[in-house]
């Protein structure tokens, strides 16, 4: 139901979930495609997903999605009924439809070019046309037509498959208390699944009590009756084997096993049950719902023993399933399920997540911020109050209340932050599809191992991570993993592996992308860096291997001159690095030539609020992310030395270069603060950037606090050295410093301390001292 053309958010959110679950099914199918046997449940789930989506889309008037789902539904029905082969081509079409669905959903209610689905529909059509014809219906002779009559076409297919594959067919009869039916079913379902495939659940109306229900569960399995029986004995279920066979002799009987070993009276044939035919007559399913076949459940010698003596196996099944008039007594059918607890947990209910618009969360965060301001106002009014005589008691009470409010506000803020967290799995699934597609295009066999998909991050971060991760995966597929021939001649397995890992480390999250490809050639990187003027030849030879490899993050760096079809410009890692820095993250690379490459991205868990150190310099207030701060110290003016024109101090036998923030930003002090110039005490905030430490000189340290990050917007987000805006306590808006940029900048200036040439901001190569920093003058060895 659209309102004014915009699709309902309920529809969008359910549709999105369905498509994601469909995608996961496909990925699992893809992983299994080389296995001898496909898990039918995967195809069935995929079918169900598309079926549901079709119904949903039709109801909400989403035409293209309905059309596409309808076509896919036929294809998937064909696939699950075994009429169409599951192979790479069919999977390709299915994967393509996932992408198309996403595009269609994104385009709903928006103006813009319509997503083209004609081509895809044709391809699906071709797939559906290939269907083999129905196999002749010979194998289900003898199965109670009343059973067949209530199976869906798919369930019937699974039943036939079970028989065709030579598996045994069982009927498991169990009784459940209605209140705890979910628990009971999950319990027995879990056990049954270990034995084989559950085909269907048939409820029987013949419950002994109003608060109980009996179910007959059809199970296909290769296991023996006894094994299954003992497996479910704890649930009080009775297991019967059904033997539908092509020919029939009409002799009734079947093996049964009863856990309690009670005697089973055999039903006289032709007794109370209405019989409209003996076994053997194949009845078209569904036409005779009143028909029952004669049956007798009798186990010769089954009494009291589960390792039953061989009962005569009837040549045809004569077992009434689910017919209320001819049920074997379930004396032994009490289910020992836990009936404790009145909570009605429905294990089958849809996940209890709510999809939330980030902008709503932002509004909530803003509100909390405003509440904090109000609270600050309360506090200051309280101060005024306290100044009045005779108010001590009231003031104290007030104070206590304020403290409580402060606590609650923090909890509220924490709560809102937690709502923003989403698992990385969303992005990982998308990457899995990309790997598959790129691998096919590049004709390379690549296996993607994912772990830690449940690791959670702020939704904003996850969204921003999508592109950089995509770049890295693309690079890994295109340039990292070698062709099959190359790999084999190098003694590697033909299948390349890419590992995608995520895990939490303290208050950070680490994401690793590792491949077992050809690794990075640091010598080539060095040559390219020199060629691009990022470093002189001489300087480059003095750098360690790791420092050379880090050049791949330098702007405009790429060793591939030719653009490949899939990657375009051999996407630069500098873009990736910029994106990651914008998220207050870091990226490191580790590589071994010939063996592979590993990228590790470290990110804060949330961007919305961080801990920051608030400082003041030249009358301006700034924040520094606490994550970047190694320590803050106070030094005396006379501890500052000058080395080659740069101010440094000596700290624990190491030399620390100093940087005046006010000079960096060209901030002028108001003249009254002239005394500041000759102030004896200096505050230095030591920040770290990989192996480099720098001390930022500031006028005042105003303390640590949690600050709310505010995005700066397109116009101001690329101001170098400024990472964003923050709201500090009291509602003041203060700029957040981008430590890594500042440090790099400072070290790269022409008059910068010698040593680290890095990626020069002005692109020029630098003459001058290339001696490793710190080996001259009064300072000590680095």
């Amino acid at each position: 139901m659209t309102d004014g053309g915009r699709p309902s958010s309920e529809f969008l959110s359910e549709a999105q979930e369905i498509i994601e679950s469909f995608s996961r099914n496909l990925l699992a199918l893809d992983a299994q495609s080389s296995a001898p046997e496909l898990d039918p449940e995967l195809l069935n789930s995929a079918f169900r997903a598309v079926h549901t989506l079709k119904g949903l889309a039709a109801l909400f008037g989403a035409g293209s999605i309905t059309e596409l789902s309808h076509a896919l539904e036929s294809a998937l029905d064909g696939l699950r009924l075994g009429r169409i082969q599951v192979d790479r081509d069919s999977l390709d079409v299915l994967f393509e439809s996932v992408e198309t669905f996403q595009a269609l959903l994104a385009g709903l209610g928006r103006d813009g070019p319509a997503v083209e689905i004609r081509g895809l529909l044709e391809r699906i059509g071709e797939l559906t046309e290939e269907q083999g014809h129905d196999r002749p219906d010979t194998t289900l002779v003898g199965l109670d037509p009343s059973v067949l009559g209530v199976l869906t076409e798919y369930e019937e297919h699974r039943l036939r498959e079970t028989i065709r594959l030579g598996r045994r067919l069982f009927r498991v009869h169990a009784s459940f208390s209605l209140i705890a039916i979910d628990v009971g079913i999950e319990a027995i379902k879990g056990k049954l699944k270990t034995f084989g495939e559950v085909i269907t659940y048939l409820p029987s109306a013949d419950a002994s009590a109003d608060d109980r229900i009996d179910l007959d569960i059809l199970l296909g399995s290769e296991a023996e009756l006894d094994a299954i029986a003992s497996g479910v004995a704890g649930d009080g279920a009775a297991v019967f084997e059904l033997n539908p066979l092509p020919d029939s002799t009409g002799a009734p009987g079947s093996k049964t096993s009863d856990p309690k070993g009670k005697d089973k009276p055999s039903r006289p044939s032709g007794g109370a049950s209405r019989s409209s035919g003996t076994a053997g007559a194949s009845r078209p399913a569904g036409t005779s719902r009143a028909a029952t076949a004669d049956g007798a459940s009798r186990a010769a010698g089954a009494e009291g023993s589960r390792s039953s003596s061989p009962a005569t196996r009837s040549a045809s099944v004569e077992d009434r399933v689910g017919d209320d008039t001819s049920f074997p007594p379930h004396g032994g059918g009490r289910v020992e399920t836990e009936e404790g607890g009145t909570t009605e947990l429905s294990l089958r209910s849809l996940s209890r997540t709510v999809r939330v618009d980030l902008s709503r969360l932002d509004s909530l965060m803003n509100l909390i911020g405003e509440l904090a301001v109000v609270q600050a106002n309360f506090a200051s009014t309280l101060d005024d109050l306290r100044a009045q005589p005779g108010t001590a008691d009231v003031a104290r009470e007030f104070q206590a209340h304020l403290r409580t409010m402060d606590r609650k506000l923090s909890l509220l803020q924490q709560g809102v932050l937690e709502v923003r967290m989403v698992p990385l799995g969303q992005v990982f699934d998308k990457l899995a599809r990309v790997v598959r597609r790129l691998g096919r295009e590049a004709d390379k066999e690549i296996r993607l191992n994912i772990s830690g998909a449940e690791t959670e991050l702020d939704k904003l971060i996850v969204e921003e991570l999508s592109d950089p991760l995509m770049h890295m995966i693309r690079n890994a597929v295109d340039h990292g993993i070698e062709s099959r021939e190359e790999r084999m001649s190098a003694g590697k397995s033909a299948v390349g592996t890419i590992e995608l890992r995520a895990f939490q480390k303290g208050n950070r999250v680490v994401i690793e992308v590792e491949d077992d490809g050809r690794g990075l050639d640091w010598r080539q990187i060095r040559r390219t860096a020199v060629r691009r003027g990022l470093v002189t030849d001489l300087e480059s030879r003095e750098l360690g291997m790791q420092q050379v490899v880090d050049f791949i993050f330098a702007p405009g760096f790429t060793t591939r001159e030719t653009a490949t079809a899939t990657s375009g410009r051999g996407v630069g890692m500098d873009v990736v690095k910029t994106n990651i820095s914008r998220l207050s993250g870091m990226i490191d690379v580790d590589t071994v030539l010939g063996k592979g490459t590993k990228f590790a991205i470290t990110l804060p868990v949330t961007l919305a609020i961080i801990q920051a150190l608030v400082i003041e310099t030249a009358g301006h207030t700034f924040c520094i992310p606490l994550n970047s701060v190694l320590e803050s110290i106070m030094v005396h003016r006379r501890q500052i030395h000058t080395v080659e024109g740069h101010e440094v101090i000596s700290l624990r036998e190491k030399t620390l270069p100093l940087l005046h923030v006010s000079r960096l930003f060209d901030l002028r002090r108001p003249s009254e603060n002239h005394e500041r110039e000759v102030e004896q005490r200096i505050y230095v905030v030591i920040v770290g950037l990989a192996q480099h430490k720098v001390g930022l000189v500031v006028d005042e340290l105003l303390g640590q606090q949690d600050v709310v990050i505010k995005p700066l917007g397109r116009a101001l987000r690329s101001v170098p050295g400024i990472a964003g805006a923050t709201e500090i306590s009291g509602g003041r808006t203060v700029l957040l410093l981008d430590v890594s940029t500042l440090v790099e900048e400072a070290l790269a200036k022409p008059d910068a301390p010698p040593g680290r040439s890095g990626f020069g901001r002005d692109g020029s190569t630098r003459e001058g001292s290339s001696r490793p920093f710190g080996s001259e003058g009064p300072s000590h060895a680095h």
Partner: protein, 131 residues
């Protein structure tokens, strides 16, 4: 005051459930009991006296056909009208549901008018048969 009549709605898509519920509640004194799967339907059945039941056909585990037959065999609801909703009119599953005892079939997507007309007609038929 007329107490609302109960309707049991068995459908696994929550958005579709909301759609149908809204329709029913808008038109008359219906209180819709929504369940998302066959098992929950089994649980809900003894708890209410349903004027009629609306069910999807294609559900995992206990499907709509099995549910229909169960309902037809239960003493309490053996005469309760059942409407099957499904996307495919021609599908054999629909035939089986009707054979199992469902009273009417409504293909998705349906309009409110179509739905309500179907409800009216099956209730009429039910009342007539009682007489």
């Amino acid at each position: 005051m007329v107490t609302a009549e109960q309707v049991l709605l068995v459908e696994d898509s929550s958005a579709v459930r909301d759609f149908v519920s809204a329709m029913l509640e808008a038109v008359g004194d219906y209180e819709v009991v929504e369940v998302g799967n066959g098992f929950d339907a089994l649980r809900a059945l003894p708890r209410g006296n349903y004027a009629f039941i609306v069910s999807d056909v294609n559900m995992p585990d206990v499907n709509g056909i099995e549910l229909t037959r169960f309902v037809r065999q239960s003493p309490r609801h053996k005469r309760t009208p059942i409407i099957i909703i499904s996307t495919d009119a021609a599908h054999p599953d629909v035939q089986r549901a009707l054979a199992a005892g469902a009273n009417a079939f409504l293909p998705k997507p349906f309009t409110a008018e179509q739905f309500l007309a179907t409800v009216a007609s099956i209730r009429d038929a039910a009342n007539r048969s009682v007489e």
